[in-house]
């Protein structure tokens, strides 16, 4: 373990924060930039899309992201089959190839099953993961909270398995903490440093704390910050919550008890009891 408990080791690189933040859906690029700063993140996700020829305001997302400060993690959002995901991943790599960013060979792989749930297609995700690993990518792989699928993806060479807390953008928080606990146990039992990052569904700062209290290594979120009433303040809350959750995990919570246990000593009480 690194000496700084708030660093995240993934794909052979040490990130200064355990929080990975998405760059989508902010009201303005200035709000995005300030939110990223307030979150303390050092890794941000980006999407690959066609150049727009009309209504261009001349601003590129990358003009608002300090490429020396942030590792860029291109995603395959919007892909519904393995072939498209591989194509999009390669294009993301090509864009970053001469920008000197360490994220150039990283990809946040997501291959979705339908547009309503945005749940991953497990068969296509596994196929795409295998192909991208063969192609030299460091694959950070979005998946459901299914422990068996998580094991399959790790075996396929994923640099990190990233189970969803709940559906993308739903803000429902962690729906199945038991599955996440099983995933953490299965993936880390012989490999304690293997990074498991909870991706998607986070709604607010307390969800982030819960992610870390479960023992996850990182969290990836976008909408919870971008659509908060005050994104910059929420980003700061997320930063603090990640630190709090990680510290609580390392400190070790007390077991839950059915009955109370007095905090003040029994000895020396001057009162009488009615029984």
């Amino acid at each position: 373990m690194s000496t700084n408990i708030h660093r995240l080791s993934v794909a052979g690189k040490l990130l200064e924060s355990r929080v990975i933040v998405g760059t989508g859906k902010y009201e303005t690029l200035d709000v995005m930039r300030e939110s990223l700063d307030a979150s303390g993140t050092s890794c941000v996700t980006v999407a690959v899309r066609r150049e727009k020829l009309y209504d261009r305001d001349g601003k590129n997302l990358l003009d608002y992201i300090d490429l020396k400060r942030y590792t860029l993690l291109p995603n395959t959002a919007g892909c519904f089959n393995a072939k498209d995901a591989v194509r999009v991943a390669r294009m993301g790599r090509e864009i970053l190839s001469d920008l000197g960013n360490p994220g150039a060979d990283w990809v946040k792989l997501e291959v979705l099953g339908d547009t309503k749930t945005l749940l991953p297609d497990p068969v296509a995700t596994l196929e795409a993961c295998q192909r991208l690993v063969e192609d030299g990518f460091k694959v950070l792989c979005y998946t459901s909270d299914c422990p068996i699928m998580a094991v399959r993806l790790k075996s396929a060479g994923a640099a990190s398995v990233m189970p969803a807390a709940s559906p993308i953008g739903s803000g429902q928080g962690i729906l199945n903490p038991n599955n996440l606990k099983i995933i953490l146990e299965y993936l880390k039992s012989d490999d304690p440093d293997y990074p498991v990052i909870i991706d998607a569904g986070v709604g607010t700062a307390s969800d982030v704390a819960e992610v870390f209290e479960l023992g996850a290594d990182g969290v990836l979120l976008n909408t919870a910050i971008a659509h908060a009433r005050d994104p910059i303040m929420m980003a700061s809350a997320v930063r603090n919550s990640a630190i709090a959750g990680r510290q609580a995990y390392l400190a070790g919570r007390i077991p839950k008890r059915l009955y109370a246990m007095a905090s003040s000593p029994e000895e020396g009480v001057i009162t009488s009891r009615p029984w």
Binding site: G22, G24, M32, N60, I95, L220
Partner: protein, 80 residues
């Protein structure tokens, strides 16, 4: 030569291809670099695919767009 004939000669000479999913025409011998320049697209933040194969940046000023090519030019945008 009258105007209509001139127009048809130019139209025949134009190279027709697909750019980001829509039909597009360029003069003959248009390189990808020339195409990007004519569309005001910055090199530094884009990737180009020709018929689903990535075109390395070193090829932009060499590859001439051919009739029927499917050209995709992508960049990075905000995403989660």
């Amino acid at each position: 030569m009258d105007r209509s004939k001139l127009h048809s000669v130019i139209a025949l000479d134009m190279v027709e291809f697909e750019f980001n999913g829509t039909p597009h025409k360029s003069p003959p011998q248009t390189t990808v670099a020339g195409l990007l320049e004519s569309l005001g697209i910055e090199y530094r933040f884009c990737a180009v695919e020709v018929n689903e194969e990535i075109l390395p940046k070193a090829q932009y000023s060499i590859y001439e767009v051919k009739p029927g090519d499917r050209i995709e030019v992508v960049t990075l945008v905000g995403g989660g």
